[in-house]
Protein backbone atom coordinates (compact mmCIF):
# COMPACT_ATOMS: atom_id res chain seq x y z
CA UNK A 1 0.00 0.00 0.00
CA UNK A 2 1.15 3.53 -0.73
CA UNK A 3 1.69 5.11 2.70
CA UNK A 4 1.98 8.56 1.14
CA UNK A 5 -1.60 8.25 -0.09
CA UNK A 6 -3.13 6.33 2.81
CA UNK A 7 -1.48 8.32 5.55
CA UNK A 8 -3.19 7.90 8.90
CA UNK A 9 -2.47 7.51 12.58
CA UNK A 10 -0.74 4.13 12.56
CA UNK A 11 -1.21 3.70 16.31
CA UNK A 12 -4.86 3.03 15.53
CA UNK A 13 -6.28 -0.43 14.95
CA UNK A 14 -9.03 0.70 12.54
CA UNK A 15 -9.33 3.49 9.98
CA UNK A 16 -11.56 4.01 6.96
CA UNK A 17 -11.07 6.07 3.80
CA UNK A 18 -13.70 7.11 1.28
CA UNK A 19 -12.22 7.77 -2.13
CA UNK A 20 -12.66 7.93 -5.87
CA UNK A 21 -11.11 5.29 -8.12
CA UNK A 22 -8.62 7.98 -9.24
CA UNK A 23 -7.51 8.08 -5.56
CA UNK A 24 -8.97 11.45 -4.74
CA UNK A 25 -9.82 11.06 -1.05
CA UNK A 26 -13.27 12.33 -0.04
CA UNK A 27 -12.99 11.69 3.67
CA UNK A 28 -11.90 9.52 6.58
CA UNK A 29 -13.48 7.85 9.57
CA UNK A 30 -11.86 6.55 12.76
CA UNK A 31 -9.53 7.99 15.37
CA UNK A 32 -9.41 7.90 19.13
CA UNK A 33 -8.12 9.67 22.23
CA UNK A 34 -6.50 8.50 25.45
CA UNK A 35 -9.89 7.71 27.03
CA UNK A 36 -10.32 4.60 24.89
CA UNK A 37 -10.39 3.16 21.38
CA UNK A 38 -14.08 3.80 20.73
CA UNK A 39 -14.85 7.05 22.49
CA UNK A 40 -15.09 8.96 19.18
CA UNK A 41 -16.67 6.36 16.91
CA UNK A 42 -20.38 5.59 16.46
CA UNK A 43 -22.40 3.86 13.74
CA UNK A 44 -24.38 7.08 13.29
CA UNK A 45 -21.13 9.00 12.87
CA UNK A 46 -19.89 6.51 10.26
CA UNK A 47 -23.24 6.77 8.45
CA UNK A 48 -22.98 10.56 8.44
CA UNK A 49 -19.42 10.51 7.09
CA UNK A 50 -20.43 8.00 4.38
CA UNK A 51 -23.32 10.24 3.33
CA UNK A 52 -20.99 13.22 3.03
CA UNK A 53 -18.57 11.10 0.95
CA UNK A 54 -21.39 10.09 -1.40
CA UNK A 55 -22.39 13.74 -1.83
CA UNK A 56 -18.76 14.60 -2.59
CA UNK A 57 -18.68 11.78 -5.14
CA UNK A 58 -21.83 13.09 -6.83
CA UNK A 59 -20.29 16.57 -7.06
CA UNK A 60 -16.90 15.29 -8.14
CA UNK A 61 -15.65 16.24 -11.55
CA UNK A 62 -12.68 14.19 -12.64
CA UNK A 63 -9.58 16.11 -13.49
CA UNK A 64 -7.92 15.29 -16.84
CA UNK A 65 -4.94 13.68 -15.14
CA UNK A 66 -5.16 13.48 -11.35
CA UNK A 67 -1.76 13.99 -9.81
CA UNK A 68 -0.33 10.70 -8.64
CA UNK A 69 1.05 10.60 -5.12
CA UNK A 70 4.63 9.22 -5.09
CA UNK A 71 4.67 5.67 -3.80
CA UNK A 72 6.21 4.94 -0.40
CA UNK A 73 5.70 1.47 1.04
CA UNK A 74 6.32 0.07 4.51
CA UNK A 75 9.21 -1.93 3.07
CA UNK A 76 10.91 1.32 2.02
CA UNK A 77 11.80 2.20 5.62
CA UNK A 78 15.49 1.41 6.23
CA UNK A 79 14.62 -0.28 9.55
CA UNK A 80 12.75 -3.08 7.80
CA UNK A 81 16.06 -4.26 6.32
CA UNK A 82 17.10 -5.61 9.72
CA UNK A 83 13.92 -7.64 10.09
CA UNK A 84 14.02 -11.24 9.11
CA UNK A 85 12.65 -11.97 5.67
CA UNK A 86 8.88 -12.51 5.71
CA UNK A 87 8.51 -10.95 9.15
CA UNK A 88 5.18 -9.18 9.49
CA UNK A 89 5.16 -5.45 10.23
CA UNK A 90 2.65 -4.16 12.76
CA UNK A 91 0.93 -0.86 12.01
CA UNK A 92 2.48 1.03 14.94
CA UNK A 93 5.94 -0.10 13.81
CA UNK A 94 5.63 2.29 10.87
CA UNK A 95 5.89 5.14 13.36
CA UNK A 96 8.84 3.44 15.08
CA UNK A 97 10.62 2.99 11.73
CA UNK A 98 10.02 6.65 10.91
CA UNK A 99 11.43 7.70 14.29
CA UNK A 100 14.50 5.51 13.74
CA UNK A 101 14.99 7.00 10.26
CA UNK A 102 14.79 10.55 11.57
CA UNK A 103 17.12 9.77 14.48
CA UNK A 104 19.64 8.22 12.08
CA UNK A 105 19.55 11.44 10.06
CA UNK A 106 19.77 13.54 13.23
CA UNK A 107 16.50 15.31 12.47
CA UNK A 108 14.21 13.78 15.14
CA UNK A 109 12.83 16.24 17.66
CA UNK A 110 10.25 15.98 20.44
CA UNK A 111 7.79 17.75 18.18
CA UNK A 112 7.45 14.40 16.40
CA UNK A 113 5.64 13.03 19.48
CA UNK A 114 2.60 15.22 18.96
CA UNK A 115 0.90 13.55 16.04
CA UNK A 116 -2.80 13.78 15.18
CA UNK A 117 -3.86 16.50 17.62
CA UNK A 118 -7.45 16.46 18.84
CA UNK A 119 -9.90 19.13 17.66
CA UNK A 120 -10.12 20.05 21.35
CA UNK A 121 -6.52 21.28 21.03
CA UNK A 122 -7.87 24.28 19.11
CA UNK A 123 -10.97 24.45 21.33
CA UNK A 124 -13.46 22.46 19.25
CA UNK A 125 -15.54 19.50 20.44
CA UNK A 126 -17.22 17.78 17.50
CA UNK A 127 -20.39 15.73 17.67
CA UNK A 128 -19.70 11.99 17.47
CA UNK A 129 -22.81 11.34 15.37
CA UNK A 130 -22.49 14.28 12.97
CA UNK A 131 -18.79 14.88 12.55
CA UNK A 132 -18.97 18.45 11.25
CA UNK A 133 -21.31 19.70 14.00
CA UNK A 134 -19.64 21.77 16.73
CA UNK A 135 -20.93 20.60 20.11
CA UNK A 136 -18.85 22.94 22.25
CA UNK A 137 -16.18 25.61 22.00
CA UNK A 138 -13.72 26.05 24.84
CA UNK A 139 -13.40 29.50 26.36
CA UNK A 140 -10.16 31.34 25.59
CA UNK A 141 -9.33 28.86 22.80
CA UNK A 142 -8.28 29.70 19.21
CA UNK A 143 -11.75 28.62 17.99
CA UNK A 144 -13.44 30.83 20.59
CA UNK A 145 -11.29 33.78 19.54
CA UNK A 146 -12.53 33.62 15.92
CA UNK A 147 -16.17 33.37 17.04
CA UNK A 148 -17.00 29.72 16.38
CA UNK A 149 -20.13 28.71 18.31
CA UNK A 150 -21.77 25.49 19.45
CA UNK A 151 -24.26 24.48 16.76
CA UNK A 152 -22.08 25.74 13.89
CA UNK A 153 -21.07 23.36 11.10
CA UNK A 154 -17.40 23.07 10.18
CA UNK A 155 -16.78 23.14 6.44
CA UNK A 156 -13.00 23.12 6.15
CA UNK A 157 -10.11 23.02 8.57
CA UNK A 158 -6.60 23.59 7.22
CA UNK A 159 -7.97 23.03 3.72
CA UNK A 160 -9.55 19.65 4.52
CA UNK A 161 -13.32 19.12 4.20
CA UNK A 162 -14.67 18.04 7.58
CA UNK A 163 -17.29 15.32 8.03
CA UNK A 164 -15.73 13.39 10.90
CA UNK A 165 -13.38 13.49 13.87
CA UNK A 166 -10.82 11.68 11.67
CA UNK A 167 -11.00 14.45 9.04
CA UNK A 168 -10.37 17.03 11.75
CA UNK A 169 -7.46 15.06 13.20
CA UNK A 170 -5.91 14.62 9.75
CA UNK A 171 -6.23 18.34 9.01
CA UNK A 172 -4.64 19.26 12.35
CA UNK A 173 -1.86 16.71 11.89
CA UNK A 174 -0.83 18.68 8.80
CA UNK A 175 -0.98 22.03 10.62
CA UNK A 176 2.15 23.88 11.76
CA UNK A 177 3.53 23.65 15.30
CA UNK A 178 2.74 27.33 15.67
CA UNK A 179 1.16 29.91 13.39
CA UNK A 180 -2.19 29.97 11.65
CA UNK A 181 -4.74 27.37 10.60
CA UNK A 182 -7.45 28.37 8.11
CA UNK A 183 -10.99 27.45 9.12
CA UNK A 184 -14.38 27.91 7.48
CA UNK A 185 -17.81 27.10 8.87
CA UNK A 186 -21.54 27.72 8.60
CA UNK A 187 -23.27 29.81 11.24
CA UNK A 188 -27.06 29.93 10.87
CA UNK A 189 -26.54 29.03 7.20
CA UNK A 190 -24.06 31.87 6.65
CA UNK A 191 -20.53 31.06 5.45
CA UNK A 192 -17.81 32.23 7.80
CA UNK A 193 -14.03 31.97 7.59
CA UNK A 194 -11.04 32.94 9.70
CA UNK A 195 -7.63 31.71 10.78
CA UNK A 196 -6.96 30.02 14.11
CA UNK A 197 -3.86 31.38 15.82
CA UNK A 198 -1.97 28.53 17.49
CA UNK A 199 0.98 28.91 19.81
CA UNK A 200 3.97 26.62 20.40
CA UNK A 201 2.80 23.50 22.25
CA UNK A 202 -0.77 23.50 20.90
CA UNK A 203 -0.36 19.99 19.45
CA UNK A 204 0.26 18.30 22.82
CA UNK A 205 -2.15 15.55 23.88
CA UNK A 206 -2.09 12.55 26.19
CA UNK A 207 0.04 10.09 24.18
CA UNK A 208 0.35 7.34 26.77
CA UNK A 209 -2.03 5.02 24.87
CA UNK A 210 0.15 4.95 21.76
CA UNK A 211 1.84 1.55 21.22
CA UNK A 212 4.54 3.15 19.05
CA UNK A 213 5.80 5.10 22.08
CA UNK A 214 5.83 2.33 24.69
CA UNK A 215 9.61 2.07 24.60
CA UNK A 216 10.26 5.78 25.12
CA UNK A 217 7.62 6.76 27.69
CA UNK A 218 9.05 6.51 31.22
CA UNK A 219 7.70 4.89 34.37
CA UNK A 220 8.21 6.35 37.83
CA UNK A 221 8.42 3.29 40.10
CA UNK A 222 7.07 4.86 43.29
CA UNK A 223 4.50 3.34 45.64
CA UNK A 224 2.67 4.46 48.75
CA UNK A 225 -0.45 6.12 50.09
CA UNK A 226 -1.82 9.55 49.26
CA UNK A 227 -1.76 11.93 52.21
CA UNK A 228 -5.09 12.53 53.92
CA UNK A 229 -6.72 15.95 53.77
CA UNK A 230 -5.67 16.52 57.40
CA UNK A 231 -2.04 15.58 56.67
CA UNK A 232 -1.96 17.93 53.67
CA UNK A 233 -3.43 20.74 55.76
CA UNK A 234 -0.79 20.20 58.44
CA UNK A 235 1.93 20.51 55.78
CA UNK A 236 0.31 23.54 54.16
CA UNK A 237 -0.48 21.66 50.95
CA UNK A 238 -3.66 22.25 48.96
CA UNK A 239 -6.21 19.46 49.49
CA UNK A 240 -6.51 18.81 45.72
CA UNK A 241 -2.77 18.56 45.12
CA UNK A 242 -1.03 15.19 44.66
CA UNK A 243 1.15 14.30 47.66
CA UNK A 244 1.97 10.77 48.80
CA UNK A 245 4.16 8.99 51.32
CA UNK A 246 6.63 6.48 49.84
CA UNK A 247 6.03 3.08 51.44
CA UNK A 248 8.66 0.52 52.47
CA UNK A 249 8.94 -0.89 48.93
CA UNK A 250 11.41 1.69 47.64
CA UNK A 251 12.44 0.68 44.13
CA UNK A 252 16.16 -0.10 43.95
CA UNK A 253 16.75 2.56 41.26
CA UNK A 254 15.20 5.23 43.51
CA UNK A 255 16.84 3.93 46.70
CA UNK A 256 20.19 4.33 44.94
CA UNK A 257 19.60 8.06 44.36
CA UNK A 258 18.33 8.71 47.88
CA UNK A 259 14.56 8.19 48.09
CA UNK A 260 13.62 6.79 51.50
CA UNK A 261 10.62 5.11 53.07
CA UNK A 262 8.41 7.83 54.57
CA UNK A 263 9.48 10.56 52.13
CA UNK A 264 6.52 12.67 51.07
CA UNK A 265 6.67 13.36 47.33
CA UNK A 266 4.96 16.67 46.54
CA UNK A 267 6.13 17.67 43.04
CA UNK A 268 8.31 16.88 40.03
CA UNK A 269 10.78 19.48 38.78
CA UNK A 270 9.10 21.92 41.12
CA UNK A 271 5.73 21.46 39.45
CA UNK A 272 2.78 20.41 41.62
CA UNK A 273 0.21 18.08 40.09
CA UNK A 274 -3.49 18.01 40.90
CA UNK A 275 -4.95 14.68 42.02
CA UNK A 276 -3.31 11.58 43.43
CA UNK A 277 -0.05 9.64 43.25
CA UNK A 278 -1.33 8.06 40.02
CA UNK A 279 -1.83 11.51 38.52
CA UNK A 280 1.72 12.46 39.44
CA UNK A 281 3.08 9.26 37.87
CA UNK A 282 0.88 9.94 34.79
CA UNK A 283 2.22 13.48 34.61
CA UNK A 284 5.75 12.11 34.36
CA UNK A 285 4.73 9.61 31.66
CA UNK A 286 2.95 12.28 29.62
CA UNK A 287 5.62 14.96 29.84
CA UNK A 288 9.00 13.25 29.86
CA UNK A 289 10.87 10.58 27.92
CA UNK A 290 13.14 7.73 28.95
CA UNK A 291 16.58 9.17 29.68
CA UNK A 292 15.31 12.55 30.88
CA UNK A 293 16.72 13.83 34.16
CA UNK A 294 14.12 15.13 36.62
CA UNK A 295 13.99 16.19 40.24
CA UNK A 296 11.56 14.69 42.75
CA UNK A 297 10.56 17.31 45.31
CA UNK A 298 10.25 15.61 48.67
CA UNK A 299 9.45 16.58 52.27
CA UNK A 300 11.49 14.63 54.83
CA UNK A 301 11.20 15.40 58.54
CA UNK A 302 9.84 18.88 57.77
CA UNK A 303 12.70 19.71 55.38
CA UNK A 304 12.65 20.05 51.62
CA UNK A 305 14.81 17.51 49.80
CA UNK A 306 15.50 17.29 46.08
CA UNK A 307 16.20 13.91 44.55
CA UNK A 308 17.69 13.82 41.04
CA UNK A 309 16.73 10.80 38.96
CA UNK A 310 17.17 9.62 35.39
CA UNK A 311 13.93 8.25 34.04
CA UNK A 312 13.77 4.69 32.71
Amino acid sequence: MNLNLFEFDYDLTWMAFFLNADETIYGRYGGRDAAGPDTRNTLAGLHFALEQALKAHERYQAKPAPQKVPVFRAEDFAETKILQRNNCIHCHQLKEFRRADLKAKGTWTRDELWTYPLPENVGITLDNNQGNLVNAVQLKSPANTVGLKAGDRLEKLNGVSIASFADAQHSLHKAPKQGEIPISWLHDGKSMSATLAVAEGWRKTNITWRPSLLDILPSLPVSGDDLTAAEKKALGISETRAAFRQDKFVHSSLKKVGLQQGDVVVAVDGQAVEGTMEDLVGHVRRNYLVGDKVTLNVLRGGKRVEIAIELK
Partner: protein
Amino acid sequence: MHRLLLGVSVLLIAAAQTPAQPQKAFGWLKDYEAGNAEARRTGKPIFLVFRCEP
Protein backbone atom coordinates in the same frame (compact mmCIF):
# COMPACT_ATOMS: atom_id res chain seq x y z
CA MET B 1 9.61 -9.62 1.35
CA HIS B 2 7.82 -8.22 4.38
CA ARG B 3 4.10 -8.19 4.81
CA LEU B 4 2.30 -5.30 6.40
CA LEU B 5 0.19 -6.84 9.15
CA LEU B 6 -2.74 -4.76 8.12
CA GLY B 7 -6.08 -6.01 6.88
CA VAL B 8 -7.46 -4.09 3.94
CA SER B 9 -11.11 -4.33 2.99
CA VAL B 10 -12.69 -2.54 0.07
CA LEU B 11 -16.41 -1.98 -0.42
CA LEU B 12 -17.99 -0.01 -3.22
CA ILE B 13 -20.69 2.29 -1.94
CA ALA B 14 -23.70 3.77 -3.68
CA ALA B 15 -26.24 6.41 -2.76
CA ALA B 16 -29.62 5.15 -1.59
CA GLN B 17 -31.32 6.84 -4.51
CA THR B 18 -29.27 4.88 -7.08
CA PRO B 19 -31.64 2.91 -9.34
CA ALA B 20 -31.96 -0.73 -8.35
CA GLN B 21 -29.16 -2.84 -9.76
CA PRO B 22 -29.52 -6.45 -10.82
CA GLN B 23 -29.28 -8.58 -7.69
CA LYS B 24 -25.75 -9.81 -7.19
CA ALA B 25 -23.71 -10.92 -4.30
CA PHE B 26 -21.76 -8.08 -2.77
CA GLY B 27 -19.24 -7.93 -0.01
CA TRP B 28 -15.80 -6.84 0.96
CA LEU B 29 -12.87 -7.30 -1.35
CA LYS B 30 -9.50 -8.01 0.24
CA ASP B 31 -7.44 -6.74 -2.69
CA TYR B 32 -7.19 -2.96 -3.08
CA GLU B 33 -6.17 -3.12 -6.74
CA ALA B 34 -9.15 -5.34 -7.57
CA GLY B 35 -11.48 -3.01 -5.66
CA ASN B 36 -10.06 0.02 -7.43
CA ALA B 37 -10.54 -1.64 -10.83
CA GLU B 38 -14.14 -2.46 -9.94
CA ALA B 39 -14.70 1.16 -8.82
CA ARG B 40 -13.34 2.40 -12.16
CA ARG B 41 -15.64 0.02 -14.02
CA THR B 42 -18.78 0.92 -12.08
CA GLY B 43 -18.08 4.58 -11.29
CA LYS B 44 -18.77 3.98 -7.61
CA PRO B 45 -16.68 5.41 -4.77
CA ILE B 46 -14.52 3.19 -2.58
CA PHE B 47 -14.93 2.51 1.15
CA LEU B 48 -11.49 1.32 2.22
CA VAL B 49 -10.89 -0.05 5.71
CA PHE B 50 -7.51 -0.63 7.35
CA ARG B 51 -7.49 -2.75 10.46
CA CYS B 52 -4.50 -3.96 12.39
CA GLU B 53 -4.60 -7.70 12.86
CA PRO B 54 -3.38 -8.78 16.30
